[in-house]
Symmetry: C2
Subunit: 496 residues, 2 copies
């Protein structure tokens, strides 16, 4: 099969450009000096364009056409042809001028968003957002869809997901969680967090995070931990998956959970065999599945009593004031629920509400039932309905996230799906490893990691998310597992 070799070569070359782009992006956030930005954006622009040209090339198209009907491909090769083929088709569907135009509008919208958020001035951002919505709607038409234009965009982040399916997931979730949150706030007992008061040296936090990452079996020989303003994980290639974090001296747990979250993402990529990288399957099954890996390590593991039973003496090694702290009290303090304005600061119970607010608005923007001009009002109404809080200004409301200025419509649901996938997977995991609690409590994370590697990591993007969930848990995504998880856990912590 000469075509297969040629196909693998071109996909391999795309992977090499993508690796260089990952490093350029990582460096831009970690080590690049301020004055390096001009050349960096030129270099990134050039390599991105080269990568795009590979992706939409007639050459790749010809290989894909032949390989789609070929025999003798391995299972992973077939998955690669499906996945790369979809990317190829979608990107060829959009006229090159439109992509160029949108990319210019995007960079203007981003600049405008930064200024608008700073001034809390939605009107200044509105024309830019209208443009970005316009492009999203055009793209949706070019991509094509059966029911709802939003479906065409969701496909980028969560293959197979649709507006209808999302509504069917959200409805029961909302119906259960809105009253649960009210009960929690009205009848529950808020954990005492005073033991976390104080200031905590940043360098000591950094060392603590390093230890926590070792504990969860993050491989430092295949990674790096650097400082940034907004933490993220970057995959430069097999054997090079880097975590970043930040350290706030007034908030000890912020950096720790940041490290566990990014560590979860990183374990996913560190657990993928090289063949997945070579075939363009190393982005994972979907954004939502990737998020499930970070949320599981952060929440199901890191915010559990088993974890704190093991981790309290570790914490005390670094911050001796916790020598006599009780695991119970630390765990409770790490699980405070409070309806708040900002998504990225939300707890497990309220996080999904922030997504529901955004999903309602995005779907309406895409099908034309919502006007951009009405967003501030609609945002505040929805916040009131879901969370019972209303932003005092748009900076803390509709202007808080960067996504729309980038044209990322359809991205937000991944965060919620990540939470739901994590709860469902973790339920299966506990059933299949009855000794899990005991091993976490003993600081042995090998059984956990072994299961994740076998069931999730090693498959990378070989399966679409619902197929992966069927293989792991026996059925497709079912939000009720998240409801049980959250109501049981927080019912107990809040002594309902």
């Amino acid at each position: 099969l000469n075509t297969l070799t040629a196909y693998r070569n071109i996909v391999g070359d795309m992977g090499k450009l993508a690796s260089a782009l990952s490093l350029l992006g990582w460096d831009q956030q970690t080590h690049m000096p301020a004055k390096g930005v001009a050349i960096r954006s030129q270099v990134t622009g050039k390599l991105s364009k080269m990568l795009f040209e590979f992706l939409v090339s007639a050459e790749l198209g010809a290989y894909l056409a032949e390989l789609r009907n070929a025999d003798g491909l391995s299972e992973l090769e077939r998955a690669s042809v499906r996945r790369v083929g979809k990317d190829h088709d979608r990107n060829r569907a959009i006229p090159a001028e439109l992509i160029e135009e949108q990319s210019i509008a995007q960079s203007q919208a981003q600049t405008a968003w930064v200024a608008a958020r700073q001034a809390s001035d939605f009107a200044a951002f509105q024309p830019h957002l209208e443009k970005m919505v316009g492009y999203a709607r055009k793209f949706a038409e070019y991509y094509g869809y059966e029911e709802h234009p939003y479906d065409a965009l969701l496909e980028d982040y969560e293959p197979g997901m649709t507006c209808r399916k999302l509504k069917a997931i959200i409805e029961p979730l909302r119906a259960e969680l809105v009253p649960f949150l009210r009960r929690l706030m009205e009848k529950g007992t808020r954990p005492d967090t005073s033991l976390l008061d104080g200031t905590f040296d940043a360098e000591t936090q950094r060392r603590l995070c390093r230890r926590a990452l070792e504990v969860i079996r993050y491989d430092f020989e295949a990674g790096d931990l650097a400082d940034v303003a907004h933490p993220f994980t970057t995959t430069i290639g097999p054997g090079d998956v880097r975590i970043t974090n930040r350290y706030l001296e007034a908030q000890l747990l912020s950096s720790l959970f940041g490290a566990l979250h990014e560590g979860g993402h990183a374990l996913y990529n560190q657990g993928m065999p090289e063949e997945l990288y070579a075939l363009g399957l190393a982005r994972g099954a979907s954004n939502g599945i990737h998020e499930s890996q970070s949320r599981m390590i952060e929440n199901q593991v890191g915010r559990s009593l088993q974890f704190w039973t093991f981790f309290q003496p570790v914490l005390a090694e670094f911050f001796p004031q916790f020598k006599k702290a009780k695991a119970n009290d630390l765990c409770a303090a790490a699980n405070v629920v409070s309806p708040s304005l900002i998504r990225v600061e939300a707890d497990e119970v309220t996080y999904n509400f922030h997504i529901m607010v955004r999903f309602e608005i995005e779907a309406g923007l895409l099908d034309g039932s919502i006007d951009v001009a009405d967003l501030p009002r609609l945002w505040n109404d929805a916040m009131k309905r879901y969370l019972g809080v209303v932003p005092p200004n748009d900076a803390q409301g509709v202007l808080q996230d960067v996504h729309w200025s980038m044209g990322y419509f359809g991205y937000f649901p991944s965060y919620m799906l990540g939470n739901l996938y994590a709860a469902q997977m973790f339920r299966t995991l506990r059933k299949e490893i009855p000794t899990l609690d005991a091993s976490i409590q003993a600081g042995n994370f090998e059984p956990l990691l072994g299961w994740l590697r076998e069931k999730v990591h090693r498959h990378g993007g070989a399966y679409e998310p619902q197929e992966l969930m069927r293989r792991i848990t026996g059925h497709e995504l079912d939000g009720s597992h998240f409801v049980s998880y959250v109501t049981e856990k927080y019912g107990a912590i809040y002594k309902l």
Copy 2:
């Protein structure tokens, strides 16, 4: 001039690939985890190949042919056409298969060299070195030359330099410096270095080096200081010129002079306008001129009494044991001369001898008057003649440098030329700025930097080295300035 725009675009694109390659290289030495090496070498290989394909492309060749005879180009554009044109011609002169072959042999030779040096086993390296010499001779024939095959290779590192010119430079230098070194050793008084005994915390050294770099006006907003095993400077682009350094707890001054040396290289690139980068002229006038900038800051400035008069209290801020140290004593201790085996540890007086040894051998290997098999003996003989010391083994002798295993024949003279250029430039500088000593002594490095920017940095690779020297000092390279500098300085320090 549409051709000019097309030419500038292609050279601009080459610059972007080169920038990405610089970052990949920098990261490999600074932050890349051990397991990241496999994908890194693939990525670097791919981008290098792309860059090479741009350079030898028929498209670029056509633009160059047209622009060589075109009117209306700026002076810098004409320089770019000369310089890029030469690179294009030279690289097209070599058959692609031969480049491929040589590159494979090179990577084998490097691996063999590492093992051979470790085992001090020249015989194990000999067949690889013979191959590398063979390729160098073939390349020289393809490049073409008038007098000596070595000239064809020198051109890569030092445009316009020839074997004959080098001999004419070396002969009087040798004639003066060999007896001077003997007198220094026999009749001079070696400075007392005991005040530098002790161990010096690495983190404090790192902060001291940062301060020293601020002092010489290195711009941290356009750079970065990272840790490595072997210090170097990398230019990622205008506004992004990064220094690396290492810290030995037993050798305080090693990191300081390392920082000043790399800082000198970095000031050169930080001082080049963007237009030079856009036109492929940002590598500098030559390797030797680049080295002159690092050696001047390290030696003419950093090893002067004026510098230490200012720097002693700064040093004492970081290492209080130097509170009562005298500038005189610190300066003398930083200027110890001792004939030694290892080039990279050599002082100002003996450094050039190490280069003369290598030059004699390289020229002989290229014209066939020397056989690789005789190298250990010839090396040791030459060391005896120039320095009066003989290596106890080949690891500390003929096997000490990596260059030959990389096929870099003709590179070594740049180091010596850097020393000579620096002495000659510095003489002019002091004449033109009579207050230089006073300003350095006061910690004001602005006059020095202003002069370097105006005379050297802002021109980048616009002029060939001898033309640049004429413009700066009124005449071409003249080694006698270095002789005066060294004999006056060390005669005084050694109380001859």
